[in-house]
Symmetry: C2
Subunit: 369 residues, 2 copies
């Protein structure tokens, strides 16, 4: 049984942020799958990426799309909900129910907008930790995440070393590198310069109805960074739209149509201020912040760590994952498994190459100590 449930928790105690600011009060939206056992030792935490949400698995009535990691999570799947109790929370700063820049700024009813504090990956992780505490879950069997979800998984490992037995981080890094920051910059700039964004004072209803071309353009750049030259070749080749003339200035290749469709569609379901805040969190992510070195940070990790990279990932290149593995090796950590996966799907591989990762995930979850 998937046993999908959706919940929201309200917190009135302040969340102390890495910046020194506070978030108070705040809500966390989350989904669970499977059933918590009596010993509460069958918990798996799933962490989502930039534009992901708490909806990681299952399909709601009336929806035509399953959760974003449905291939991995469910009955009889690698993260088997017949055995495990799985939790996925929407990160703070996002726009799917957890507190973000468009949430009302207590005690007012107006949204924060730019008054929302910059949150970090560590802040996202701390907020989750507090939620789990409230649920009486003080340690978990595993934390799994890809991309920004992998950053959270690693941050759990460094900052709450006794919390998770196993950590599986995919397609991620120890600190965001300039190539990824540059893609985020294009998106941020496109959002900020769109007059319909109204310097942050947009009406979200209007944006969702009529779209926000700046965010669409940013998402197009994002899609490039999620793919690879090879995967784009295979997916689109040089196919041209059937009724467009090759010598028409606005005639389109299929890849252009794809980017346009996905770019503009994105503005119907994601919030531009959340995009600015979450890309900021990704840009300033650095696992070694607050420590003298990455070695010192990683020295704190006690979980079994599984690092999965994808050969053609250009957003977080395999060398970044290798760097984490080799650093851990250099400080004598033995509970580290580095798994480079051959793939030409680019960064998206962690979402689409389920058949290549599922047995590694399963093995990690069932490994005898």
């Amino acid at each position: 049984m998937l046993h999908l449930q959706i919940h929201s928790e309200h917190f009135t105690n302040p969340l102390y942020l890495e910046s020194g600011r506070i978030l108070e009060p705040y809500d966390i939206m989350y989904e669970t799958y499977g059933v918590l056992n009596e010993a509460k030792d069958n918990v798996i935490v799933i962490c989502h990426a930039l534009t992901g949400s708490h909806h990681a698995a299952g399909t709601y009535e009336g929806d035509n799309k399953a959760g974003w990691w449905d291939g991995l999570i469910g009955q009889g799947k690698a993260v088997d909900t017949d055995h495990f109790f799985v939790i996925c929370t929407n990160v703070i700063g996002s726009c799917f129910g957890s507190t973000g820049p468009m949430s009302p700024r207590y005690p007012y009813t107006e949204p924060y907008r730019y008054k929302f504090p910059v949150v970090t990956i560590l802040d996202m992780v701390k907020a989750q930790r507090i939620l789990f505490d409230r649920l009486g879950i003080h340690s978990v069997h595993a934390i799994i995440g890809g991309s920004m979800g992998g950053m959270q998984a690693l941050a759990f490992g460094v900052f709450f070393p006794n919390f998770a037995k196993n950590i599986i981080a995919m397609a991620t890094t120890y600190a965001t590198q300039p190539w990824a920051i540059a893609f985020n910059k294009v998106a941020q700039e496109a959002i900020l310069k769109d007059p319909e964004f109204k310097n942050g004072y947009y009406d979200p209803k209007i944006i969702r109805e009529t779209g926000l071309s700046g965010m669409a353009i940013g998402r197009m750049a994002g899609h490039i960074s999620f793919l690879s030259p090879q995967s784009m070749d295979r997916k689109f080749g040089r196919e041209y739209k059937r009724n467009d003339g090759l010598f028409e200035l606005f005639g389109k290749f299929q890849v252009e149509s794809y980017l346009e469709y996905n770019g503009y569609n994105f503005t119907k379901w994601f919030d531009p201020l959340s995009y600015l805040y979450i890309t900021k969190a990704i840009n300033i992510y650095d696992l070694s912040r607050g420590f003298d070195s990455l070695e010192e940070a990683l020295h704190r990790v006690r979980a079994n760590l599984y690092l999965i990279s994808f050969e053609s990932d250009l957003l977080f290149v395999p060398q970044e994952m290798e760097m984490i593995a080799s650093t851990l090796e250099s400080i004598g950590k033995e509970n580290v498994t580095y798994i480079p996966i051959p793939s030409d799907y680019g960064h998206d591989a962690f979402l689409v190459e389920i058949d290549k990762i599922e047995h590694y995930v399963k093995d990690a979850l069932w490994k005898k100590p």
Copy 2:
């Protein structure tokens, strides 16, 4: 002696375009370096890339920047102007003096804007061929180009097989692949959606003075495609602007400053409609168009062909150059040299790794038949 000269030629005969449309009349702006010998057999043609110009070498009084390939062209350099007479023309469709979308649409004085016909790489090459004819140059010692310049060099080889003895094409392809088209799409969309672009009816003076954020955003995406994750790491790392706060939403990494500066500066010296037309020409570039296959197209090549690729080039990946070399090999062509260059500078390598390419260029130019 560099012996830099700048010229413009006016043509009143129609240029028959690949689309079936005509361009009439038209101008071609070009520079020459060195001196044409009496036998007229010391000519080298240089072809420029997307935002390049006829100004390939030398420095004008008052300018602080030399031509874009100054490292390669000049007295005692690989393309030695003491020996060779070098010509570089601004392509039609561009905005540096050759006829483009902002040129007056004869017999009116108003610019073409969208009435300008889509031009192709072959059209750019034909226009140059007609210029050279007028100059009494009916064959040349070599044609050299990188990126879109390489496309032109290859098109010369296929469509005018008796024109050049040697062709050196770098960091280019046989047909533009979806990854490159996708980057162009981001830029095109950003330009088109900028209200200051006024659907093509902008005032170019205003754009050059106040900038066009859409084109700046597109250029930022372009800069990503010119670099590589490795070269960005080396160039910027995670350096943060000294006076910006890490937890300020608009605090900036150096890479963000770099993109912003170069993006906005670009709008001061390039025309947005030219950008749309030239990226269109690049997108629809396909050396095999009009032939049954790439084999059939390449079969026509008679020049000695030198194909130089750069390991980390993500815009035109080395496999695309290899494909040209292996296709030529498969049809029994023996005058082909494929030179893969180790480099982590990305696509920009053809402009910045002069020390790695100059001896290959020199060898090609001086090779005894």
